[in-house]
């Protein structure tokens, strides 16, 4: 009998079957990988700050206090993270069907502008909130779903690659929405009384209730984001439609032979993905901004991709990943103020986190982690399984 060499092995040998089953079920490895990746990324970022003559401790301390330093900052961080949930879910849901939805930015813009347009209808002001809020939310979902549906249908009907269609539609949305909101002659959606190009405020009755008066305020938008994750989870794991989506993602050939309408699934998946993005946009408009300004939505689409990948396209993983993302951006202001280190350092740290999570072999090597072959942290995302 060979002696157990490490503590881990000894523990494992003395474990009962039940213990082992629990250990396999609650696999902490992926979480550990993310944590260790965060540590590594922060270290590298610190070195970068130090090289350029800054004080990394001072900078990170300011960043941390900017993120979670007070109840107000915590609320602000959560609020700042909220729109990322929807844009990440938009990416993740399409990924389940093997589609790469790079178009969340356009979907958010169209969803947001549709909601802002509906929200400024005069009669909506007299409608009680119980009806006004759903009307505006549905407008956002329809806008985002429509814009997401276009690449889906094109993919299904003509085979046009969804990555290209999405990039094109992003640009079309950016320019189109800019015209809608900026145009002075004719005035379409612009509020002429404002010096900055933006729409008029949406009806008071269509505002989402706000809980904490931080900047940005913590509102029901966060609850909507959590709700989206639950809907995602339910759709994907508890309905036959979700099963079909997963099958198409795993193997479209097999799905076809099993009698699944692959084209229908592809189109529908993109519509739903777009709806997630649209809903995220409208909750930002209705919960935080109360008017629509195109510039606000820049970058949400691409950060959403990173967050979805960080969460391994798991809907409940998206929540902490988005919180990490949004709170770091939220705290960057204080870091700039106190330590004179800009938001770019946060961007670098974020990209390194993603890098180390993706290349988990590096992390496993540095921290001597055992088990799981290299790259396994993200393989689940490829097979389209909810972890």
């Amino acid at each position: 009998v060979n002696e157990p060499r490490t503590v881990n092995e000894r523990v494992e040998r003395t474990m009962s079957d039940g213990h082992r089953a629990i250990r396999t079920a609650i696999d902490l490895q992926p979480v550990l990988v993310v944590l260790y990746a965060l540590v590594l990324a922060v270290l590298v970022g610190g070195v970068l700050i130090w090289i350029t003559g800054g004080n990394p401790f001072e900078a990170y301390w300011a960043l941390l206090r900017g993120m979670f330093g007070s109840w107000d900052r915590i609320a602000a961080s959560i609020s700042r993270s909220t729109p990322y949930v929807g844009s990440a879910l938009a990416m993740a849901f399409a990924f389940k069907a093997g589609l790469f939805n790079i178009g969340a930015e356009g979907q958010m813009l169209v969803g947001g502008v549709t909601a802002a347009w509906v929200g400024t209808w005069a009669w909506l002001a007299d409608v009680p909130s119980v009806f006004a809020i759903p009307i505006v939310l549905i407008a956002g979902i329809v806008g985002g779903g429509f814009w997401g549906g276009i690449p889906g249908v094109l993919r299904a009907r003509t085979g046009a690659h969804e990555v290209i269609s999405c990039i094109m539609l992003n640009n079309i949305a950016i320019l189109g929405v800019r015209w809608l909101v900026n145009s002075q002659d004719p005035i379409v959606l612009r509020d002429p009384t404002q010096s900055v190009p933006r729409t008029a405020d949406i009806a008071e009755s269509a505002h989402l209730p706000s809980f904490v008066d931080s900047t940005p305020p913590l509102s029901a938008a966060t609850l909507i984001a959590i709700g989206m994750c639950i809907v995602f989870w339910f759709l994907f794991t508890r309905t036959s439609f979700g099963f079909e989506v997963g099958t198409v993602g795993a193997n479209p050939h097999a799905a076809h032979y099993a009698g699944i309408g692959v084209n229908r699934i592809i189109s529908l998946t993109m519509v739903i993905a777009g709806s997630f993005a649209g809903l995220a946009a409208v909750s930002e408009v209705s919960g935080n901004q109360h008017h629509f300004q195109p510039g606000v939505f820049v970058g949400y689409g691409f950060d959403g991709i990173a967050i979805a990948l960080l969460a391994r396209t798991n809907p409940f993983g998206v929540l902490p990943a988005a919180l990490l993302w949004g709170s770091m951006l939220s705290g960057a202001g204080l870091m700039q103020q106190e330590a004179d280190v800009g938001i770019d350092v946060v961007r670098i740290v974020q990209s390194l986190v993603l890098l180390f999570v993706a290349a988990d072999a590096i992390v496993r090597y540095v921290f001597r982690m055992k088990g799981h072959e290299p790259g396994s942290a993200l393989r689940a995302a490829e097979t389209g399984a909810v972890a």
């Binding site: 269609s165 079309i172 946060v346 961007r347």
Partner: protein, 435 residues
């Protein structure tokens, strides 16, 4: 394109290639009819002219808009005929449609021109601008082509370009003060190496660590955004050099004196010429050398390639790094050729447009260049038509709509005319050597 997006073309979705062709031809015929019957008679008959060379004394063509539009309309109807003659005419149909598409250029210009008050438009600038603007797109497309032909998806082109632009200009500003010619060329090399280094990172992550190729691309894009922003605020701003001397324009002796074409094609800045060279060499090397065949076989069937003694891993490294070097050149175009200076996120999505151009060209160099030209032309056209102030039915077309043109055109082309783009078979699939 992606690992998981390998939707089969033959079995799942029925091929409608022939139908698509007929529909395209039919649309052109209908367009022709509308042009000849409805549009042409309503145009003013004043003579307009296109100038093709720089003033003074440019070569020019004078035309009368109704005649031009009618002629193109009738031509469209004639060119649509082969599509309905049977399978033997397939090749003719392809050419007829290509000619129809090309005729859109004089058509759009002629019509827009007829609607404006100006009596003459200098086409030189337009074509010049198209070629200039197509430079980074074509280079980016070559980056993607090299990488994807070897089996590695590359959506990090944007990040490679941006980093190269930033690091290149930083070198130029710090060492050459933004004016020294010698350092300028040195910085160009640094920019290329930056792109190559990121290519190496991409290869290392995807080939050695077998991580998802799209994730790696996203990492590179994010990293580039942070890195260049950091370098700009911490280094470039400190040097006080906000802009410098751009790469010089020069002409190729003799060739530049050819009327009309010479001025367009054989006068320009260095990266423009390097772009043309890169496209040509890509075609030559990838399709006409043994090494190119190895690259392509690594992307189509790596296991079969390995059986034949090809070191797939080495080939993929080489191809991706080479692609990175090309992206570095494209990055240098932004910060050293188009203008000497660096702004945050100055590549502004060009890397993704390049990706579109590559898929538009179905992973082939010259068609990809054509795709890049299409984007370059529509960008230039947008600016030009905006300048002419075109009105349709008393409604002045906003500039945003003109800028939208290339994206709409691509969407239509990718969905309709080009048909199903088939990527290299093994693209996006991590390759593991069997033991």
């Amino acid at each position: 394109m992606t690992a998981t997006v390998a939707i089969p073309s033959k079995t799942v979705i029925t091929q409608r290639r022939f139908g698509r062709r007929r529909i395209t031809s039919l649309s052109f015929a209908v367009l022709g009819l509308v042009l000849a019957v409805l549009v042409a008679p309503n145009l003013s008959g004043d003579d307009k002219s296109f100038a093709f060379e720089r003033p003074p004394d440019p070569a020019s063509i004078t035309f009368d808009p109704p005649t031009l539009v009618t002629a193109i309309g009738i031509l469209y109807m004639v060119l649509a005929v082969p599509a309905f003659l049977g399978a033997r005419w397939d090749r003719v149909v392809v050419w007829a449609q290509a000619v129809s598409a090309a005729l859109l250029v004089p058509l759009v210009l002629g019509r827009a021109h007829a609607l404006s008050d100006a009596s003459s438009t200098n086409v030189t600038n337009l074509l010049d601008e198209s070629l200039v603007l197509c430079t980074p797109i074509a280079l980016g497309a070559m980056t993607g082509l090299w990488s994807e032909r070897s089996g590695i998806v590359n959506i990090g082109i944007e990040g490679m370009m941006l980093s190269a632009a930033g690091v290149g200009f930083m070198t130029y500003a710090v060492l050459g003060d933004g004016t020294a010619t010698g350092w300028m060329w040195f910085s160009l090399v640094v920019a290329m190496l930056t792109g190559g280094l990121l290519g190496l990172l991409h290869a290392w992550l995807t080939v050695t660590f077998l991580i998802n190729q799209i994730i790696s691309g996203v990492v590179i894009n994010l990293f580039a955004l942070g890195l260049t922003g950091f370098l700009r605020s911490e280094v470039i701003v400190d040097t006080g050099v906000t802009s410098g001397k751009a790469l010089p324009e020069f002409g190729i002796p003799l060739l530049e004196d050819i009327p009309v074409v010479g001025d367009q094609l054989f006068r320009g800045q260095p990266i423009f010429f390097l772009m043309l060279l890169t496209v040509f060499l890509t075609w030559l090397v990838v399709w006409h050398t043994p090494w190119g065949l190895r690259v392509r076989s690594s992307g189509e069937h790596p296991h079969a390639a390995e059986t034949l003694g090809i070191d797939v891993i080495k080939i993929r490294y080489q191809a991706v790094v080479l692609g990175g070097l090309i992206a570095g050149l494209a990055g240098a175009w932004f910060s050293m050729e188009a203008s000497a200076g660096f702004e945050d996120a100055m590549t502004n999505g060009t890397g993704f447009i390049a990706l579109a151009a590559m898929i538009f060209g179905k992973w082939r160099p010259f068609p990809a260049l054509a795709g890049a030209l299409l984007f370059g032309f529509s960008r230039a056209l947008g600016a030009r038509l905006q300048f002419l102030g075109v009105e349709i039915a008393g409604f002045e077309i906003p500039s945003n709509f003109w800028q939208m043109l290339p994206f709409v055109v691509t969407l239509v082309v990718v969905a309709g005319a080009v048909g199903r783009a088939v990527p290299p078979a093994a693209e996006g699939i991590p390759y593991r050597r069997s033991r």
